[in-house]
Amino acid sequence: MKVFLKALLYVPCIGLIAFYLYVLALGFYPQVSEQYRAYYIDHTVSVWQG
């Protein structure tokens, strides 16, 4: 029983790792407007024109 419970704990661990990787991946594909990308992410414009 103890071994089974111990093994069961790996399930949330794998779930957390998968969640972190998913969020990290989302970070590379922002779904934002052109103005947002230019000002906040690429820094190609110096004034926010929201």
Binding site: P30, Q31, V32, Y36, Y40, I41, W48, G50
Partner: protein
């Protein structure tokens, strides 16, 4: 071995002494508020005098939630501020009577967190130095310069409380509880996520001391994966902050929005050394820039001192938490340094056997903190921002 009753009695005595020091520190705050009202011929309440700068953002988040679009004029957005503290304020507002304004609740929560942090800090010190009373660390938390933020609707007090709990639990070798404290610290401020490295160092020290070899390192890493509870503890540390990143992706479309929004406030220097160099020499914000840069150097020196004392877990947390702020700019770095529990460990270690210097530090702290409260109330002093 002390009996349980004796230990409980000691804990009550410790709590009462820490509470007394805390009350004295808040008497200083109230006295300065009275002096400020007298000088300005005003009649403002203390919590209204404390309600400035970032406190307005936290109250806004607690009352209205996060905005999905930055302000069209300034480019600012409230999602630059991390969620756990406003969540607590929102929750407290639901259970407290309506007569309490959100800022008042913030002041109460922050002061309560400071009090708990002071008590836990004393207990943490006693783990290492059983012969010490340890009240000096509580004094530093309540009175040291740049601890004024612990009295107001800022996240610093809550962050300090969770980091103090983290170090206490690690000292007692309750590593899973330490991981829970790290989870809440990271949910309160992103710097808390670096506690995961401190946790690893504490766990390593508990198993092997500070003797390092390839075999021990590989045994330690294997041990993490062989013990799922330990692995789970390490993995839950950043859960809150990653949950927030996911929330931001759903809200704004950008998982790193809280980092990207910083550009609206100030440009990034891109590295710690560039930040220090340009703030010391160029002084973009006048003398304030030099003050911040010098304060940063003081902080870094204190963390280096922790390495010298073999307090590597506290040192790495100090370096990384302050380093992440310094990579962008030195603005408000004094607040981040004094909001970091590692600095109190360093100051305590440095001064515990130097009675005369300790007395000087205590007297100067009371005077400077009184002045800082006054400058804060006046609201025009940029360097304590």
């Amino acid at each position: 071995m002390k009996k349980t009753g004796q230990r409980t009695g000691e804990n009550i005595k410790t709590a009462a002494t820490v509470f007394l020091i805390f009350v004295l520190s808040r008497l200083l705050l109230t006295f300065v508020a009275c002096a400020y009202n007298y000088m300005t011929q005003g009649y403002a309440k203390t919590w209204d005098l404390l309600y400035k700068f970032d406190a307005l953002w936290y109250v806004d988040i607690a009352e209205n939630g996060y905005q999905s679009v930055p302000n069209s004029v300034t480019g600012y957005a409230n999602y630059a501020f991390y969620p756990f503290y406003p969540i607590v304020l929102r929750f407290m507002k639901c259970i407290l009577p309506d007569r309490f304004a959100t800022n008042q609740i913030g002041v109460i929560v922050s002061n309560l967190c400071t009090l708990i942090a002071g008590y836990v800090a004393v207990q943490t010190v006693r783990i290492k130095y059983a012969e010490d009373k340890g009240y000096f660390i509580a004094f530093l938390i309540f009175f040291a310069p740049h601890t004024i933020y612990f009295s107001m609707t800022y996240t610093e007090a809550m962050f300090l409380m969770f980091t103090a709990l983290f170090f206490y639990c690690c000292g007692r070798k309750h590593f899973f509880l330490a991981a829970v404290a790290a989870f809440f610290a990271a949910f309160t401020r992103i710097a808390g996520v670096f506690l995961v490295f401190s946790l690893l160092l504490f766990e390593y020290e508990a198993e092997y001391g500070w003797s390092v070899s390839r075999a021990k390192l590989s045994g330690f890493i294997k041990g993490i994966f062989a013990r799922p509870l330990r692995l789970f503890g390490l993995l839950i540390c950043p859960l809150g902050i990653f949950g927030y990143f996911y929330y931001l992706y759903r809200l704004v479309g950008d998982a790193w929005a809280s980092a990207h929004i910083q550009v609206a406030w100030h440009n990034s220097y891109g590295s710690v050394l560039r930040t220090l160099f340009y703030n010391l020499l160029d002084s973009g914000s006048g003398t304030s820039s030099q003050y911040w840069a010098l304060y940063a150097i003081f902080g870094i020196a204190m963390f280096a001192y922790l390495c010298y004392k073999k307090e590597f877990a506290a040192a790495i947390f100090g370096f990384l938490a302050v380093g992440i702020s310094l990579r962008t700019d030195a603005i408000a770095i004094a607040r981040y340094i004094m909001g970091n529990f590692s600095i109190y460990i360093a100051l305590y270690e440095l001064l515990r056997n130097r009675q005369q210097i300790k007395t000087v530090v205590m007297n100067i702290s009371i005077i400077v903190t009184g002045l800082m409260y006054y400058m804060w109330f006046a609201g025009e002093c940029y360097f304590i921002f």
